[in-house]
Amino acid sequence: MIHEKSLIRPENLKTHDKLVIDGVDVSGHWSTFIQSRVVTDYNEALQDEIAALPGGEHIHRCWQCGSCTNACTVNAVNPDFNPRFWIYLIRMGMESELLRDKDIIWQCVSCNKCTYACPRDVFPEGVMKATAHWLQLKGHTPKSKSTIFDEVFAEQVIATGKIEEGRTIRGFFARTGQPLMQDWLVEMAKRVARRLPFKQGIAMALAAVFRPRTRKWSKARAALTEYVHEQETRQRKALNLE
C-alpha cells in the first residue's frame, strides 16, 4: 500500500478536514481520496519519436515486468527514477505524465544493470538516453550537465582523435559556469602533489599544454563532422522539428 501510494502524485491525493457525504462523515486522514482524472492529450507519435532516436529502437518490446527498475542503480538512490514506468508512459503516449519527471531522466548512469536484467532485449539504458535526448530536442528541458560534458568530450575527440582529461574538465566547468576551484578537487590535487616527484609534475603540466592528438587524423575529422551533422538533420526531421 505504501509503495502504491508513492506512485500517486501528491496533488491528486485529497483529504478533507470536514466533509460529510450522504450523511457519512469522511473527514480526515482515514478517508483519503484519489482524484480521478481523464487523459485526453495522448501523443500517439511518442513511442515512434523515441524509437527514432539512438538507443530507443527496441522500446516496443517491453512487457512491463519491472526488472529494469528493480535492478536500477539510480532507482536505489532515488525511488522516483523509474525506467519501467517511463517506458509505459511513452508506449501509452502519456506525454504530460512523462514530463513531470523530465528533470531526472538524464541521471541514468549507463551502468547497464537494466540491460542485464531485461528479458526482452529492450535495452532500457538506450531508451533512457533516447528519452533524455528527446526532452532536450523538443525544448522541454535545457541541456543537462551530462549532455554538456558529452558534447565537450565528443568535440575534442572529433577534433584531435584523443582526449586530454584536464582540458575536458576545464572545458566542462567553463561551459556550465562552475568554478574549477571546488574544495574537494583542490584537496585531491594537494594529496597527489604531496607525493609526486617534481619532474613528473612538470611532465603532466606539459601534457596539458601540448594536447595529445592522433597523427593522420584530419580526414577522419572531416568524415565524422559530416556524419554527425547528417544524423542531427535526420533526427530533427523524425521529430518534426522546424
Binding site: 539512438p54 542503480t73 548512469v109 542485464y116 551530462s146 558529452d150 582529461e165 585531491m188 594529496r191 593522420k216
Partner: protein, 299 residues
Amino acid sequence: MAYYPGCALEGTGHAYNESTKAVGSALGLKLDEVKDWNCCGAMEVKNIDPKVQTYLSSRVMSIAANEMHAKVVMAPCNGCYHNLKKAEYDLEHDASSRETVARISEKAGHETYQAGQVETIHALDWIKDGVGEEELKRRLKNSLKGLKVANYYGCMYTRPRHIFPEKDKGPGSESTLQPHFMDDLLAAAGAQNVDFPLKTACCGGAHTLSDSDTSTQLVLNILRAAEAAGADVIATECPTCHSGLEMHQVRAEKVLGEKTTVKMLYFTQLLGIALGVAPRKLGVHENVSDGMEVLKKIL
C-alpha cells in the same frame, strides 16, 4: 600482442599504464602499442551518436589488424575494452553499423575493420591466460599474505552480457554475475580476498562531474561495503573506476563529512609488488589514496 592503452592511461590512469607494463616485463609478456591510436569514445561519444563510437573503436582494431597484423588487442581500461567489444558485436550483427563504419573509414583513408579480424581482451585475461596462477605462484618474490583485498570490477567489464560471448562458458571462463579473474590472480599472489558483495556495482563514473552528488553516494556505498567486509584495500582494474573511487572518497569526506579509510590500488600494482617490482616503478606514489600505508604491512 597489440596494446591499446587509451586516453585515461596517459592521464589520470598513468600509474595503471606504468604498472601494467612493469608486470608485463616481469612476466615476460610482450606488448606492442597500437600505432597512432585514437580515443575509443569512452562513456560519452555514444550519447552524441553510437555509430561514431563504433567507428572510433573500429579504427583502433583496424590498425591492429591491418597495419600490425595482430590477432589480439589488449586493453586494460574497462571503457576501452567494453567499447571495442561492443563495436565488434555491432559490426558482426548489424548491417547499418557495418555500412556506416565502411563509409567513414573509406573517407578517413584506412582499411575498414571487419568483424572477427582481432579478438579484444582485458589485462586480466592477458595475465590469467598468458601466465596463469600456477606460473604466477612460482614467480612470487613478495607474497601479499596478510593483505585483505576487495576486488572491484565495476560495470563495463561484464555488462551488457551479449557483447562478451566468451564469458559465462562454465569452469575456467569469466562470469558476468560473479567475476573472479582478479580474485584468482590476487589469491595466487597470496592476498586474502574478502567476501565483497559490490564487485559489479556502479561507481557513477559516467556522471562523476555532471551529477557528483549521485556519484559520491554510489562510491560511498562501495567504500563502506569494502570496509564492512574487512578489506584494507580495494583492487581495481579500470582507470575510471579507480579515479572515481579516489575522487569521491575525498569528496564524501569534504562535502558530506563521511570519512572512509580503505585504500585503492590497481590490481597490476598489487601484482607488481608480489613480483618484486619497486612501488615507485608501479606509480603507487601517484595514487590519491595512499596505498603505501597498507603495503607497509607486507613490504
